[in-house]
Protein backbone atom coordinates (compact mmCIF):
# COMPACT_ATOMS: atom_id res chain seq x y z
CA UNK A 1 0.00 0.00 0.00
CA UNK A 2 1.14 3.49 -0.66
CA UNK A 3 0.46 6.73 1.06
CA UNK A 4 -2.34 8.94 -0.33
CA UNK A 5 -2.49 11.76 2.16
CA UNK A 6 -0.15 12.90 4.88
CA UNK A 7 -0.66 15.53 7.54
CA UNK A 8 2.48 16.97 9.07
CA UNK A 9 2.34 18.78 12.39
CA UNK A 10 -0.98 20.41 11.58
CA UNK A 11 -2.00 23.22 13.91
CA UNK A 12 -5.17 25.27 13.82
CA UNK A 13 -5.85 27.96 16.38
CA UNK A 14 -8.89 30.24 16.40
CA UNK A 15 -8.52 33.55 18.19
CA UNK A 16 -11.49 34.20 20.47
CA UNK A 17 -12.29 36.70 23.16
CA UNK A 18 -9.96 36.02 26.06
CA UNK A 19 -7.58 33.60 24.39
CA UNK A 20 -7.01 31.16 21.60
CA UNK A 21 -8.96 27.99 20.87
CA UNK A 22 -6.46 25.21 20.22
CA UNK A 23 -8.71 23.26 17.86
CA UNK A 24 -5.98 21.12 16.31
CA UNK A 25 -2.56 20.94 17.93
CA UNK A 26 0.37 19.28 16.25
CA UNK A 27 -1.38 16.43 14.48
CA UNK A 28 0.56 14.16 12.11
CA UNK A 29 -0.67 11.02 10.39
CA UNK A 30 -0.97 9.39 7.00
CA UNK A 31 -3.80 7.72 5.09
CA UNK A 32 -2.94 4.74 2.89
CA UNK A 33 -4.50 4.25 -0.52
CA UNK A 34 -7.68 2.19 -0.36
CA UNK A 35 -8.06 2.08 3.40
CA UNK A 36 -10.67 3.55 5.68
CA UNK A 37 -9.16 5.51 8.49
CA UNK A 38 -11.59 6.18 11.31
CA UNK A 39 -11.32 9.31 13.41
CA UNK A 40 -13.13 9.32 16.74
CA UNK A 41 -13.32 11.72 19.62
CA UNK A 42 -15.85 13.59 21.66
CA UNK A 43 -17.75 16.64 20.43
CA UNK A 44 -15.54 19.67 20.10
CA UNK A 45 -12.21 17.80 20.06
CA UNK A 46 -11.33 19.16 16.62
CA UNK A 47 -12.37 16.26 14.37
CA UNK A 48 -14.27 18.37 11.85
CA UNK A 49 -11.68 21.12 11.93
CA UNK A 50 -9.04 18.52 11.07
CA UNK A 51 -11.16 17.29 8.16
CA UNK A 52 -11.50 20.83 6.80
CA UNK A 53 -7.77 21.46 7.22
CA UNK A 54 -7.01 18.42 5.09
CA UNK A 55 -9.16 19.82 2.26
CA UNK A 56 -7.68 23.29 2.73
CA UNK A 57 -11.19 24.62 3.30
CA UNK A 58 -9.68 26.56 6.17
CA UNK A 59 -6.01 27.55 6.19
CA UNK A 60 -3.84 25.87 8.85
CA UNK A 61 -2.05 28.03 11.44
CA UNK A 62 1.00 25.90 10.74
CA UNK A 63 1.85 22.48 9.37
CA UNK A 64 1.43 20.90 5.98
CA UNK A 65 -0.84 18.56 4.10
CA UNK A 66 0.52 16.36 1.32
CA UNK A 67 -1.89 14.80 -1.16
CA UNK A 68 -0.33 12.27 -3.50
CA UNK A 69 3.01 13.68 -2.40
CA UNK A 70 2.08 17.26 -3.36
CA UNK A 71 2.31 19.96 -0.71
CA UNK A 72 -1.11 21.70 -0.74
CA UNK A 73 0.33 24.90 0.70
CA UNK A 74 2.41 25.40 -2.48
CA UNK A 75 -0.71 25.45 -4.66
CA UNK A 76 -3.02 28.36 -5.26
CA UNK A 77 -6.09 29.22 -7.30
CA UNK A 78 -6.70 27.09 -10.36
CA UNK A 79 -3.92 24.60 -9.60
CA UNK A 80 -5.24 24.05 -6.08
CA UNK A 81 -8.75 23.48 -7.43
CA UNK A 82 -7.35 20.96 -9.88
CA UNK A 83 -5.41 19.14 -7.15
CA UNK A 84 -8.40 19.12 -4.83
CA UNK A 85 -10.51 17.31 -7.40
CA UNK A 86 -9.06 14.14 -5.96
CA UNK A 87 -10.43 14.92 -2.49
CA UNK A 88 -14.11 15.37 -1.76
CA UNK A 89 -16.19 15.65 1.35
CA UNK A 90 -19.48 14.26 2.60
CA UNK A 91 -21.05 16.54 5.15
CA UNK A 92 -22.69 15.85 8.46
CA UNK A 93 -26.03 17.54 8.05
CA UNK A 94 -27.84 16.41 4.89
CA UNK A 95 -30.40 19.17 5.48
CA UNK A 96 -27.87 22.01 5.53
CA UNK A 97 -25.37 20.77 2.96
CA UNK A 98 -27.74 20.89 -0.02
CA UNK A 99 -28.83 24.21 -1.48
CA UNK A 100 -32.64 24.27 -1.07
CA UNK A 101 -33.06 26.27 -4.29
CA UNK A 102 -31.29 23.90 -6.66
CA UNK A 103 -32.79 20.73 -8.06
CA UNK A 104 -31.10 17.44 -7.27
CA UNK A 105 -29.78 17.20 -10.80
CA UNK A 106 -28.13 20.59 -10.58
CA UNK A 107 -26.72 19.89 -7.12
CA UNK A 108 -24.99 16.73 -8.31
CA UNK A 109 -23.91 18.42 -11.55
CA UNK A 110 -22.35 21.35 -9.74
CA UNK A 111 -18.85 19.86 -9.33
CA UNK A 112 -19.00 18.84 -13.01
CA UNK A 113 -19.82 22.37 -14.17
CA UNK A 114 -17.27 23.87 -11.80
CA UNK A 115 -14.54 21.74 -13.35
CA UNK A 116 -15.97 21.91 -16.88
CA UNK A 117 -16.45 18.18 -17.18
CA UNK A 118 -18.75 17.03 -19.95
CA UNK A 119 -19.22 18.95 -23.18
CA UNK A 120 -22.92 19.60 -23.02
CA UNK A 121 -25.76 19.87 -20.59
CA UNK A 122 -27.06 16.52 -21.86
CA UNK A 123 -23.75 14.80 -21.29
CA UNK A 124 -23.58 16.07 -17.72
CA UNK A 125 -27.19 15.07 -17.14
CA UNK A 126 -26.32 11.55 -18.25
CA UNK A 127 -23.40 11.43 -15.81
CA UNK A 128 -25.66 12.72 -13.03
CA UNK A 129 -28.35 10.11 -13.74
CA UNK A 130 -25.70 7.40 -13.65
CA UNK A 131 -24.41 8.71 -10.31
CA UNK A 132 -27.93 8.78 -8.90
CA UNK A 133 -28.37 5.18 -9.84
CA UNK A 134 -25.07 4.25 -8.22
CA UNK A 135 -26.17 5.67 -4.88
CA UNK A 136 -29.60 4.06 -5.10
CA UNK A 137 -31.67 7.08 -6.11
CA UNK A 138 -34.10 6.82 -8.98
CA UNK A 139 -32.95 9.00 -11.89
CA UNK A 140 -36.56 10.14 -12.28
CA UNK A 141 -36.02 12.36 -9.25
CA UNK A 142 -33.55 14.43 -11.28
CA UNK A 143 -35.58 17.62 -11.13
CA UNK A 144 -36.92 17.29 -7.59
CA UNK A 145 -35.80 19.63 -4.83
CA UNK A 146 -33.98 18.64 -1.61
CA UNK A 147 -36.91 19.41 0.70
CA UNK A 148 -38.89 16.65 -1.01
CA UNK A 149 -36.43 14.01 0.19
CA UNK A 150 -35.91 12.28 3.52
CA UNK A 151 -32.64 12.56 5.47
CA UNK A 152 -31.23 9.29 4.14
CA UNK A 153 -32.09 10.20 0.56
CA UNK A 154 -30.47 13.58 0.97
CA UNK A 155 -27.32 12.00 2.27
CA UNK A 156 -27.32 9.84 -0.87
CA UNK A 157 -27.51 13.04 -2.91
CA UNK A 158 -24.51 14.35 -0.97
CA UNK A 159 -22.62 11.13 -1.68
CA UNK A 160 -23.45 11.26 -5.39
CA UNK A 161 -22.16 14.82 -5.48
CA UNK A 162 -18.93 13.80 -3.76
CA UNK A 163 -18.47 11.00 -6.30
CA UNK A 164 -19.06 13.21 -9.32
CA UNK A 165 -15.41 14.21 -9.73
CA UNK A 166 -14.28 10.62 -9.31
CA UNK A 167 -12.09 11.41 -6.29
CA UNK A 168 -9.53 9.14 -4.69
CA UNK A 169 -10.17 10.30 -1.15
CA UNK A 170 -13.48 11.12 0.48
CA UNK A 171 -13.58 12.77 3.86
CA UNK A 172 -16.78 11.67 5.54
CA UNK A 173 -17.55 14.18 8.28
CA UNK A 174 -20.04 12.37 10.53
CA UNK A 175 -22.08 11.29 7.51
CA UNK A 176 -24.57 9.21 9.48
CA UNK A 177 -24.84 10.96 12.84
CA UNK A 178 -27.88 12.97 11.70
CA UNK A 179 -29.73 9.87 10.49
CA UNK A 180 -31.99 7.24 12.06
CA UNK A 181 -30.24 4.02 13.03
CA UNK A 182 -31.96 1.98 10.30
CA UNK A 183 -30.95 4.54 7.68
CA UNK A 184 -27.42 4.69 9.12
CA UNK A 185 -26.88 1.04 8.20
CA UNK A 186 -28.03 1.66 4.61
CA UNK A 187 -25.67 4.57 4.17
CA UNK A 188 -22.74 2.71 5.76
CA UNK A 189 -23.33 -0.24 3.44
CA UNK A 190 -23.53 2.09 0.47
CA UNK A 191 -20.22 3.67 1.46
CA UNK A 192 -18.70 0.20 1.80
CA UNK A 193 -20.00 -0.92 -1.60
CA UNK A 194 -18.74 2.23 -3.31
CA UNK A 195 -15.33 1.74 -1.75
CA UNK A 196 -15.07 -1.79 -3.12
CA UNK A 197 -16.31 -0.78 -6.58
CA UNK A 198 -14.21 2.32 -6.98
CA UNK A 199 -11.21 1.64 -4.76
CA UNK A 200 -11.98 4.71 -2.66
CA UNK A 201 -10.05 5.85 0.37
CA UNK A 202 -12.03 7.21 3.31
CA UNK A 203 -11.28 9.34 6.30
CA UNK A 204 -14.31 8.54 8.37
CA UNK A 205 -15.00 11.05 11.12
CA UNK A 206 -17.49 10.07 13.80
CA UNK A 207 -18.18 10.12 17.50
CA UNK A 208 -19.92 6.76 17.25
CA UNK A 209 -17.41 4.05 18.10
CA UNK A 210 -19.57 1.23 16.75
CA UNK A 211 -19.99 2.92 13.39
CA UNK A 212 -16.26 3.54 13.13
CA UNK A 213 -15.45 -0.04 14.09
CA UNK A 214 -17.81 -1.38 11.43
CA UNK A 215 -16.20 0.54 8.60
CA UNK A 216 -12.57 1.30 9.48
CA UNK A 217 -9.33 -0.53 8.84
CA UNK A 218 -7.46 1.72 11.24
CA UNK A 219 -8.73 4.12 13.88
CA UNK A 220 -7.37 7.37 15.30
CA UNK A 221 -8.54 8.69 18.65
CA UNK A 222 -8.47 12.42 19.20
CA UNK A 223 -8.73 14.37 22.42
CA UNK A 224 -8.73 18.17 22.70
CA UNK A 225 -7.00 18.69 19.39
CA UNK A 226 -4.34 16.01 19.79
CA UNK A 227 -4.03 12.40 18.71
CA UNK A 228 -4.06 9.94 21.63
CA UNK A 229 -3.94 6.65 19.85
CA UNK A 230 -3.69 5.27 16.34
CA UNK A 231 -3.96 1.61 15.57
CA UNK A 232 -5.58 -1.02 13.40
CA UNK A 233 -9.20 -1.49 14.35
CA UNK A 234 -9.19 -4.88 16.12
CA UNK A 235 -6.20 -4.06 18.27
CA UNK A 236 -7.59 -0.67 19.27
CA UNK A 237 -10.95 -2.08 20.28
CA UNK A 238 -9.58 -5.25 21.92
CA UNK A 239 -6.60 -3.78 23.72
CA UNK A 240 -6.63 -0.02 23.91
CA UNK A 241 -3.40 1.43 25.29
CA UNK A 242 -4.40 5.01 26.02
CA UNK A 243 -6.50 5.53 29.15
CA UNK A 244 -8.80 7.89 27.23
CA UNK A 245 -9.55 5.23 24.61
CA UNK A 246 -10.34 2.80 27.44
CA UNK A 247 -12.82 5.28 28.92
CA UNK A 248 -14.38 5.92 25.52
CA UNK A 249 -14.88 2.22 24.88
CA UNK A 250 -16.30 1.67 28.34
CA UNK A 251 -18.75 4.48 27.80
CA UNK A 252 -20.34 2.74 24.81
CA UNK A 253 -23.80 1.65 25.96
CA UNK A 254 -24.23 -2.12 26.19
CA UNK A 255 -27.74 -3.01 25.07
CA UNK A 256 -27.70 -6.50 26.64
CA UNK A 257 -28.20 -6.15 30.43
CA UNK A 258 -26.77 -9.60 31.19
CA UNK A 259 -23.51 -8.62 29.52
CA UNK A 260 -23.23 -5.29 31.26
CA UNK A 261 -19.96 -4.85 33.06
CA UNK A 262 -20.57 -3.32 36.46
CA UNK A 263 -16.89 -2.53 36.85
CA UNK A 264 -16.50 -0.52 33.67
CA UNK A 265 -14.55 2.65 34.14
CA UNK A 266 -16.50 5.82 33.56
CA UNK A 267 -15.00 9.21 33.18
CA UNK A 268 -15.76 11.85 35.80
CA UNK A 269 -15.39 15.58 35.78
CA UNK A 270 -15.69 18.17 33.06
CA UNK A 271 -14.03 18.34 29.67
CA UNK A 272 -11.04 20.65 29.81
CA UNK A 273 -11.41 23.81 27.80
CA UNK A 274 -9.64 24.04 24.43
CA UNK A 275 -9.08 27.75 25.15
CA UNK A 276 -6.57 27.09 27.91
CA UNK A 277 -5.74 23.42 27.60
CA UNK A 278 -3.78 21.78 30.44
CA UNK A 279 0.00 21.72 30.11
CA UNK A 280 1.78 18.52 29.13
CA UNK A 281 -0.75 15.80 28.48
CA UNK A 282 -4.12 17.42 27.84
CA UNK A 283 -5.97 14.47 29.31
CA UNK A 284 -4.13 14.53 32.65
CA UNK A 285 -6.76 16.46 34.63
CA UNK A 286 -9.22 13.63 34.12
CA UNK A 287 -6.80 10.73 34.03
CA UNK A 288 -6.49 8.44 37.10
CA UNK A 289 -2.89 7.58 36.19
CA UNK A 290 -1.63 11.14 35.86
CA UNK A 291 1.47 12.19 37.80
CA UNK A 292 3.94 15.08 37.83
CA UNK A 293 5.56 14.01 34.58
CA UNK A 294 2.26 14.29 32.72
CA UNK A 295 1.99 17.96 33.69
CA UNK A 296 5.53 18.78 32.55
CA UNK A 297 6.06 16.78 29.43
CA UNK A 298 3.77 16.34 26.47
CA UNK A 299 3.60 12.63 25.59
CA UNK A 300 4.58 11.91 21.97
CA UNK A 301 2.87 9.39 19.72
CA UNK A 302 5.08 6.27 19.98
CA UNK A 303 4.77 2.83 18.49
CA UNK A 304 4.10 0.44 21.38
CA UNK A 305 3.35 -2.57 19.21
CA UNK A 306 3.66 -2.93 15.42
CA UNK A 307 1.16 -0.46 13.95
CA UNK A 308 -0.16 0.55 17.35
CA UNK A 309 0.72 4.13 18.31
CA UNK A 310 -0.14 5.76 21.60
CA UNK A 311 0.66 9.11 23.18
CA UNK A 312 0.78 8.41 26.91
CA UNK A 313 3.39 8.28 29.67
CA UNK A 314 1.52 5.46 31.35
CA UNK A 315 0.10 3.28 28.59
CA UNK A 316 -2.17 0.45 29.63
CA UNK A 317 -0.66 -3.03 29.46
Amino acid sequence: MSELLRAERLVKEFPVKGGVVHAVSDVSFAIEKGETLGLVGESGCGKSTLGKLLLDLIPPTSGKVFFNGEDLSLYKGEALRELRRGMQMIFQDPYASLDPRLSVGRIIAEPLTAHRIGDSREERAAIVRDLMEQVGLRPEFYSRYPHQFSGGQRQRIGIARALALNPELIICDEPVSALDVSIQAQILNLLGDLQRQRGLTYLFISHDLNVVRYLSDRVMVMFLGQLCELSDTPSLYESPRHPYTRFLLDAVPQPDPTRRDENRALLMGEVSSPVNPPSGCRFRLRCPYADARCAEQKPELTELAPGHFCACHHPLG
Binding site: L57, A114, H115, H147, G158
Partner: protein
Protein backbone atom coordinates in the same frame (compact mmCIF):
# COMPACT_ATOMS: atom_id res chain seq x y z
CA UNK B 1 -25.19 -13.52 -11.05
CA UNK B 2 -27.93 -12.26 -8.81
CA UNK B 3 -30.03 -14.84 -7.01
CA UNK B 4 -33.74 -14.26 -6.84
CA UNK B 5 -33.36 -13.30 -3.20
CA UNK B 6 -30.81 -10.68 -4.18
CA UNK B 7 -33.27 -9.34 -6.71
CA UNK B 8 -35.98 -9.27 -4.10
CA UNK B 9 -33.88 -7.47 -1.50
CA UNK B 10 -32.65 -5.02 -4.11
CA UNK B 11 -36.19 -4.23 -5.21
CA UNK B 12 -37.27 -3.94 -1.61
CA UNK B 13 -34.42 -1.66 -0.61
CA UNK B 14 -35.05 0.47 -3.69
CA UNK B 15 -38.64 0.75 -2.54
CA UNK B 16 -37.58 1.76 0.94
CA UNK B 17 -34.92 4.20 -0.19
CA UNK B 18 -37.14 5.93 -2.73
CA UNK B 19 -40.33 5.60 -0.72
CA UNK B 20 -41.80 8.83 0.50
CA UNK B 21 -40.98 11.63 -1.84
CA UNK B 22 -42.89 14.49 -0.37
CA UNK B 23 -45.22 16.60 -2.48
CA UNK B 24 -43.82 19.88 -3.71
CA UNK B 25 -44.50 22.47 -1.04
CA UNK B 26 -42.07 25.05 -2.39
CA UNK B 27 -42.36 28.79 -2.26
CA UNK B 28 -44.79 29.00 -5.16
CA UNK B 29 -47.13 26.47 -3.60
CA UNK B 30 -47.07 28.24 -0.25
CA UNK B 31 -47.82 31.55 -1.97
CA UNK B 32 -50.73 29.95 -3.81
CA UNK B 33 -51.94 28.59 -0.50
CA UNK B 34 -51.53 31.98 1.13
CA UNK B 35 -53.90 33.58 -1.39
CA UNK B 36 -56.44 30.91 -0.59
CA UNK B 37 -56.42 31.61 3.14
CA UNK B 38 -55.28 35.23 3.43
CA UNK B 39 -58.21 37.29 2.12
CA UNK B 40 -56.45 40.61 2.67
CA UNK B 41 -53.54 39.59 0.44
CA UNK B 42 -55.94 38.37 -2.24
CA UNK B 43 -57.85 41.66 -2.01
CA UNK B 44 -54.52 43.50 -2.31
CA UNK B 45 -53.61 41.54 -5.42
CA UNK B 46 -57.01 42.13 -7.04
CA UNK B 47 -56.89 45.86 -6.24
CA UNK B 48 -53.38 46.15 -7.67
CA UNK B 49 -54.47 44.40 -10.86
CA UNK B 50 -57.47 46.75 -11.11
CA UNK B 51 -55.31 49.83 -10.58
CA UNK B 52 -52.81 48.64 -13.19
CA UNK B 53 -55.69 47.96 -15.59
CA UNK B 54 -57.10 51.40 -14.83
CA UNK B 55 -53.76 53.02 -15.57
CA UNK B 56 -53.35 51.14 -18.85
CA UNK B 57 -56.90 51.66 -20.07
CA UNK B 58 -57.23 55.27 -18.86
CA UNK B 59 -58.41 56.72 -22.23
CA UNK B 60 -61.14 54.06 -22.44
CA UNK B 61 -62.43 54.74 -18.95
CA UNK B 62 -62.93 58.46 -19.22
CA UNK B 63 -63.92 60.71 -22.09
CA UNK B 64 -62.11 63.80 -20.79
CA UNK B 65 -58.49 64.80 -21.20
CA UNK B 66 -56.73 65.14 -17.83
CA UNK B 67 -55.28 68.54 -18.73
CA UNK B 68 -58.31 69.90 -20.56
CA UNK B 69 -59.53 73.02 -18.77
CA UNK B 70 -63.15 74.06 -18.74
CA UNK B 71 -63.28 77.47 -17.10
CA UNK B 72 -67.08 77.47 -17.36
CA UNK B 73 -67.28 74.70 -14.77
CA UNK B 74 -64.75 75.27 -11.98
CA UNK B 75 -64.89 73.62 -8.56
CA UNK B 76 -68.09 71.79 -9.37
CA UNK B 77 -69.25 69.12 -6.91
CA UNK B 78 -69.55 65.51 -8.10
CA UNK B 79 -72.27 65.06 -10.69
CA UNK B 80 -73.25 62.75 -13.52
CA UNK B 81 -70.92 64.61 -15.90
CA UNK B 82 -68.04 64.90 -13.47
CA UNK B 83 -68.10 61.90 -11.13
CA UNK B 84 -65.56 63.33 -8.71
CA UNK B 85 -66.35 66.97 -9.53
CA UNK B 86 -63.96 69.46 -11.09
CA UNK B 87 -61.00 71.42 -9.74
CA UNK B 88 -60.21 75.11 -9.76
CA UNK B 89 -59.23 74.98 -13.43
CA UNK B 90 -62.34 73.10 -14.40
CA UNK B 91 -60.43 69.87 -14.98
CA UNK B 92 -62.31 66.61 -14.39
CA UNK B 93 -61.05 65.16 -11.08
CA UNK B 94 -62.05 61.58 -11.93
CA UNK B 95 -60.05 61.74 -15.15
CA UNK B 96 -57.06 63.15 -13.31
CA UNK B 97 -57.25 60.40 -10.70
CA UNK B 98 -57.43 57.73 -13.44
CA UNK B 99 -54.47 59.18 -15.33
CA UNK B 100 -52.66 59.87 -12.03
CA UNK B 101 -52.52 56.09 -11.49
CA UNK B 102 -49.99 55.94 -14.34
CA UNK B 103 -47.74 58.45 -12.61
CA UNK B 104 -48.16 57.04 -9.14
CA UNK B 105 -47.55 53.45 -10.22
CA UNK B 106 -44.46 54.53 -12.11
CA UNK B 107 -43.29 56.41 -9.05
CA UNK B 108 -43.95 53.29 -7.01
CA UNK B 109 -42.17 50.88 -9.36
CA UNK B 110 -39.19 52.68 -10.85
CA UNK B 111 -37.37 53.89 -7.71
CA UNK B 112 -38.22 50.62 -5.91
CA UNK B 113 -36.70 48.66 -8.77
CA UNK B 114 -33.60 50.88 -8.87
CA UNK B 115 -33.09 50.65 -5.12
CA UNK B 116 -33.73 46.90 -5.26
CA UNK B 117 -30.99 46.39 -7.84
CA UNK B 118 -28.61 48.86 -6.22
CA UNK B 119 -29.27 47.63 -2.68
CA UNK B 120 -28.95 43.98 -3.68
CA UNK B 121 -25.69 44.50 -5.54
CA UNK B 122 -24.14 46.56 -2.74
CA UNK B 123 -25.50 44.35 0.05
CA UNK B 124 -24.22 41.22 -1.68
CA UNK B 125 -20.81 42.79 -2.18
CA UNK B 126 -20.64 43.99 1.42
CA UNK B 127 -21.70 40.68 2.90
CA UNK B 128 -19.72 38.45 0.59
CA UNK B 129 -16.47 40.36 0.22
CA UNK B 130 -16.40 41.57 3.82
CA UNK B 131 -13.65 43.64 5.37
CA UNK B 132 -13.01 47.00 3.73
CA UNK B 133 -15.70 46.75 1.05
CA UNK B 134 -18.19 45.89 3.76
CA UNK B 135 -17.07 48.77 5.97
CA UNK B 136 -17.26 51.36 3.18
CA UNK B 137 -20.67 50.29 1.85
CA UNK B 138 -22.25 49.91 5.26
CA UNK B 139 -20.97 53.26 6.57
CA UNK B 140 -22.48 54.81 3.45
CA UNK B 141 -25.77 53.07 4.21
CA UNK B 142 -25.58 54.28 7.82
CA UNK B 143 -25.16 57.84 6.62
CA UNK B 144 -28.23 57.56 4.40
CA UNK B 145 -30.27 55.92 7.13
CA UNK B 146 -29.14 58.43 9.76
CA UNK B 147 -30.71 61.30 7.80
CA UNK B 148 -34.44 61.86 8.16
CA UNK B 149 -35.49 60.33 4.83
CA UNK B 150 -38.01 62.99 3.85
CA UNK B 151 -35.56 65.78 4.55
CA UNK B 152 -32.81 64.06 2.60
CA UNK B 153 -35.11 63.45 -0.37
CA UNK B 154 -36.27 67.08 -0.30
CA UNK B 155 -32.69 68.35 -0.19
CA UNK B 156 -31.87 66.17 -3.20
CA UNK B 157 -34.92 67.47 -5.05
CA UNK B 158 -34.02 71.08 -4.28
CA UNK B 159 -30.46 70.53 -5.45
CA UNK B 160 -31.29 68.62 -8.63
CA UNK B 161 -34.49 70.48 -9.48
CA UNK B 162 -38.10 69.38 -9.55
CA UNK B 163 -38.58 66.78 -12.25
CA UNK B 164 -39.93 63.27 -12.23
CA UNK B 165 -36.50 61.87 -13.10
CA UNK B 166 -34.98 63.59 -10.08
CA UNK B 167 -37.83 62.24 -7.99
CA UNK B 168 -36.77 58.75 -9.05
CA UNK B 169 -33.18 59.53 -8.10
CA UNK B 170 -34.14 60.99 -4.72
CA UNK B 171 -36.39 58.06 -3.82
CA UNK B 172 -33.77 55.53 -4.93
CA UNK B 173 -31.15 57.20 -2.79
CA UNK B 174 -33.25 57.07 0.37
CA UNK B 175 -34.42 53.50 -0.29
CA UNK B 176 -31.36 51.45 -1.30
CA UNK B 177 -29.77 51.39 2.15
CA UNK B 178 -32.56 49.39 3.74
CA UNK B 179 -32.40 46.75 1.00
CA UNK B 180 -28.60 46.64 1.23
CA UNK B 181 -28.79 45.97 4.95
CA UNK B 182 -31.22 43.09 4.55
CA UNK B 183 -29.25 41.51 1.70
CA UNK B 184 -25.97 41.91 3.57
CA UNK B 185 -27.37 40.28 6.69
CA UNK B 186 -28.74 37.40 4.69
CA UNK B 187 -25.52 37.01 2.73
CA UNK B 188 -23.55 36.84 5.97
CA UNK B 189 -25.75 34.05 7.28
CA UNK B 190 -25.91 32.16 3.95
CA UNK B 191 -22.14 32.38 3.54
CA UNK B 192 -21.68 30.22 6.63
CA UNK B 193 -24.19 27.59 5.49
CA UNK B 194 -22.88 24.10 4.92
CA UNK B 195 -24.01 24.04 1.29
CA UNK B 196 -21.79 27.02 0.55
CA UNK B 197 -18.89 25.25 2.23
CA UNK B 198 -19.74 22.16 0.19
CA UNK B 199 -19.62 24.24 -2.99
CA UNK B 200 -16.25 25.63 -1.98
CA UNK B 201 -14.92 22.17 -1.27
CA UNK B 202 -15.90 21.12 -4.78
CA UNK B 203 -13.99 24.00 -6.28
CA UNK B 204 -16.95 26.20 -7.27
CA UNK B 205 -15.75 29.74 -7.93
CA UNK B 206 -16.64 32.70 -5.72
CA UNK B 207 -18.76 34.35 -8.42
CA UNK B 208 -20.69 31.19 -9.00
CA UNK B 209 -21.32 30.77 -5.28
CA UNK B 210 -22.54 34.36 -5.01
CA UNK B 211 -24.91 34.14 -7.96
CA UNK B 212 -25.98 30.50 -7.90
CA UNK B 213 -26.26 29.93 -4.16
CA UNK B 214 -26.48 33.16 -2.21
CA UNK B 215 -28.56 35.40 -4.48
CA UNK B 216 -31.33 32.85 -5.23
CA UNK B 217 -31.69 32.19 -1.51
CA UNK B 218 -32.20 35.93 -0.90
CA UNK B 219 -34.82 36.17 -3.63
CA UNK B 220 -38.00 35.49 -1.60
CA UNK B 221 -37.10 38.24 0.85
CA UNK B 222 -36.29 40.58 -2.01
CA UNK B 223 -39.73 40.06 -3.52
CA UNK B 224 -41.33 40.98 -0.19
CA UNK B 225 -39.03 43.97 0.21
CA UNK B 226 -39.88 45.15 -3.29
CA UNK B 227 -43.66 44.92 -2.75
CA UNK B 228 -43.31 46.86 0.49
CA UNK B 229 -41.01 49.48 -1.10
CA UNK B 230 -43.63 50.40 -3.71
CA UNK B 231 -46.25 51.85 -1.34
CA UNK B 232 -43.42 53.54 0.55
CA UNK B 233 -42.25 55.31 -2.60
CA UNK B 234 -45.81 56.35 -3.47
CA UNK B 235 -46.19 57.82 0.02
CA UNK B 236 -42.86 59.66 -0.16
CA UNK B 237 -43.75 61.14 -3.52
CA UNK B 238 -47.18 62.20 -2.27
CA UNK B 239 -45.64 63.82 0.80
CA UNK B 240 -43.06 65.66 -1.24
CA UNK B 241 -45.58 66.79 -3.85
CA UNK B 242 -47.84 67.95 -1.05
CA UNK B 243 -44.97 69.92 0.45
CA UNK B 244 -44.25 71.42 -2.93
CA UNK B 245 -41.01 69.79 -4.03
CA UNK B 246 -42.59 67.43 -6.53
CA UNK B 247 -42.66 67.84 -10.28
CA UNK B 248 -45.38 70.49 -10.82
CA UNK B 249 -45.99 69.30 -14.40
CA UNK B 250 -46.87 65.68 -13.70
CA UNK B 251 -50.31 65.17 -12.23
CA UNK B 252 -49.55 62.67 -9.52
CA UNK B 253 -52.08 62.03 -6.78
CA UNK B 254 -49.85 63.77 -4.24
CA UNK B 255 -49.75 66.89 -6.38
CA UNK B 256 -53.55 66.82 -6.72
CA UNK B 257 -53.95 66.74 -2.94
CA UNK B 258 -51.44 69.56 -2.65
CA UNK B 259 -53.23 71.71 -5.22
CA UNK B 260 -56.62 70.96 -3.72
CA UNK B 261 -55.68 71.77 -0.14
CA UNK B 262 -56.52 75.45 -0.52
CA UNK B 263 -60.10 74.54 -1.36
CA UNK B 264 -60.38 71.71 1.16
CA UNK B 265 -63.30 73.19 3.08
CA UNK B 266 -65.30 74.33 0.07
CA UNK B 267 -64.53 71.44 -2.28
CA UNK B 268 -63.44 68.40 -0.23
CA UNK B 269 -63.66 66.13 -3.34
CA UNK B 270 -60.47 67.77 -4.59
CA UNK B 271 -58.42 66.12 -1.86
CA UNK B 272 -60.69 63.18 -1.06
CA UNK B 273 -60.55 61.61 -4.52
CA UNK B 274 -56.76 61.49 -4.93
CA UNK B 275 -56.34 60.89 -1.18
CA UNK B 276 -58.51 57.80 -1.29
CA UNK B 277 -56.68 56.65 -4.43
CA UNK B 278 -53.37 56.87 -2.54
CA UNK B 279 -54.87 55.12 0.47
CA UNK B 280 -56.28 52.23 -1.56
CA UNK B 281 -53.12 51.72 -3.61
CA UNK B 282 -50.77 51.84 -0.63
CA UNK B 283 -53.00 49.52 1.36
CA UNK B 284 -53.26 47.07 -1.53
CA UNK B 285 -49.49 46.81 -1.83
CA UNK B 286 -49.07 46.52 1.92
CA UNK B 287 -51.65 43.72 2.13
CA UNK B 288 -49.92 41.84 -0.66
CA UNK B 289 -46.46 42.42 0.79
CA UNK B 290 -47.49 41.27 4.27
CA UNK B 291 -49.14 38.18 2.82
CA UNK B 292 -46.07 37.32 0.78
CA UNK B 293 -43.84 37.76 3.82
CA UNK B 294 -46.01 35.44 5.90
CA UNK B 295 -46.03 32.87 3.11
CA UNK B 296 -42.29 32.97 2.55
CA UNK B 297 -41.07 33.25 6.15
CA UNK B 298 -41.96 29.79 7.45
CA UNK B 299 -40.51 28.27 4.30
CA UNK B 300 -37.25 30.12 4.86
CA UNK B 301 -36.95 28.79 8.39
CA UNK B 302 -36.83 25.11 7.42
Amino acid sequence: MFTSKDKYTRALSDQIINAEIQPDDGVLASIRNMFRTNRAALLGLILILLIVLMALAAPLITRYDPNEMDLASMNEPPSAQHWFGTDDLGQDVFTRVVYGARISLMIGFVPSLISLILGTALGLMAGYMGRRVDAVIMRLADVVLAFPSLLLAMVIMYTLGSSILNMFIALSIINWAGTARVVRAQTLSLKEKEFVEAARSMGVSRWRIAFRHILPNCLPNLIVLFTLDIPGAIMWESSMSFLGVGDPNTASWGLMVSQGKGYAYMCPWLILAPGIAILVTVMAFNFLGDGLRDAIDPYMKT
